[in-house]
């Protein structure tokens, strides 16, 4: 999992709203609000960064322990994937 390179969908509309990320998925007719942590992670799902890279950035930005950051990123990416917001399908 830490080596996978998730990619956020590019065919959705995204707005930053006072620390939240609002994602409009017209294809699925759904709208999502991501909190600051989930938004931070989702914005970094660019298909180049690994899950480990994102966890490292999260740990630096939010001043959390590396292990906790890794768990948070893995959980968030699973959830983003379940919501259909990633192109990358997790194995």
């Amino acid at each position: 999992m830490v080596d996978s390179r998730p990619r956020r969908r590019s065919d959705v509309s995204v707005r930053d709203v006072e620390g939240d990320t609002v994602v409009l998925d017209r294809a699925a007719e759904r709208i999502h609000r991501l909190n600051s942590t989930a938004g931070f992670i989702w914005q970094r799902c660019d298909g180049r960064r690994t899950v480990g890279d994102i966890a490292e950035e999260l740990a630096g930005a939010f001043d959390v322990a590396p292990g906790a950051a890794n768990e948070a990123v893995v959980a968030a990416i699973r959830q983003l994937d379940e919501l259909g917001l990633l192109d990358h399908t997790l194995g």
């Binding site: 509309s13 707005r15 709203v17 006072e18 609002v22 409009l24 017209r26 709208i31 609000r33 909190n35």
Partner: protein, 273 residues
């Protein structure tokens, strides 16, 4: 044929009623919108269909639509008017909401159909609020003001005994319409600045109502889900929803006992204003 002329959102609607029952129903439901026509934007003829219990709605130049009973008839006319007004005023952002005024500012109650908007609206009218709409909040995105859509307040169920309906309420097979004269506090005729938005959820099991302040992002997502014409606006309507919630205090309100819910909402507003 009796002609009713209505004025709403700066547009004129003409409704020709062919017989007394349809005239009585349309007068009761749309009485608060009666006004002089500058120009007719929508032109309807309504009346009884051939079948004894059926009604029809016909927009001039369009196909006739029929309704099996009086409640369906008013619902059909409502649907026609709301859809056509969205086409006539694509500049406005239409939200499925009840709207009330207090202290010169508008309060929106947002919920899907059956979410308790009209019942809470009716109750709040007994606590110093004034009426703009129980169904539709058309918002001017430039000024973030909401227009009145003062169709008679319509309830699908009988309200609790603390908020009884007046004897002159017009009743159909499934709905109850409170006429203009019986709206406590009266009706607001002008555009009003939006100050607060409550997203309603009814919980029959909740021992008491509760309220929670929403972030702008969460409120924008919830508002968008209740917008009727977001795609008529830039950015698929997302920017419109964000603009509206950025100008208001937004809350998630779980409703329970109606009097307690009114007290909670009123107290929340007083603290926020």
């Amino acid at each position: 044929m009796q002609i009713l002329t209505l004025s709403v959102l700066d547009r004129g609607i003409r409704v020709g009623c062919q017989e007394p029952r349809s005239l009585a129903l349309v007068s009761a439901a749309y009485g608060p919108m009666r006004g002089d026509l500058v120009e007719t934007s929508l032109d309807y003829v309504v009346g009884r269909d051939i079948a004894p219990a059926a009604f029809f709605v016909k927009r001039v130049g369009r196909e006739l639509r029929t309704a099996a009973d009086d409640a369906t008839f008013l619902g059909l006319l409502d649907e026609e008017v709301v859809v056509e007004l969205q086409k006539l005023r694509p500049d406005l952002y239409f939200i499925h909401a009840a709207v009330l005024e207090r202290a010169d500012a508008a309060v929106m109650l947002v919920a899907q159909s059956g979410g308790g908007k009209s019942t809470l609206c009716w109750a709040l009218l007994h606590h110093g609020f004034r009426y703009l709409s129980d169904e539709l909040g058309p918002v001017d995105l430039q000024t973030v003001h909401v227009y009145p859509f003062p169709r008679a307040l319509a309830l699908k169920t009988e309200p609790p005994v603390a908020y009884p309906l007046p004897p002159s309420t017009v009743r159909t097979s499934r709905t109850r319409h409170v006429t203009e004269a019986d709206i406590p506090g009266g009706i607001i005729r002008g555009r009003t600045r939006i100050s607060a938005i409550f997203f309603l959820r009814y919980d029959a099991q909740a021992p008491a109502p509760s309220v929670r302040r929403l972030t702008a992002g969460e409120a924008a997502a919830r508002l968008y889900e209740n917008a009727l014409n977001p795609l008529a606006h830039a950015g698929d309507g997302l920017d419109g929803a964000i603009r509206i919630v950025s100008h208001a205090c937004c809350y998630a309100l779980t409703t329970a006992d109606l009097s307690a819910t009114c007290a909670l909402l009123t107290g929340t507003l007083e603290r926020s204003l």
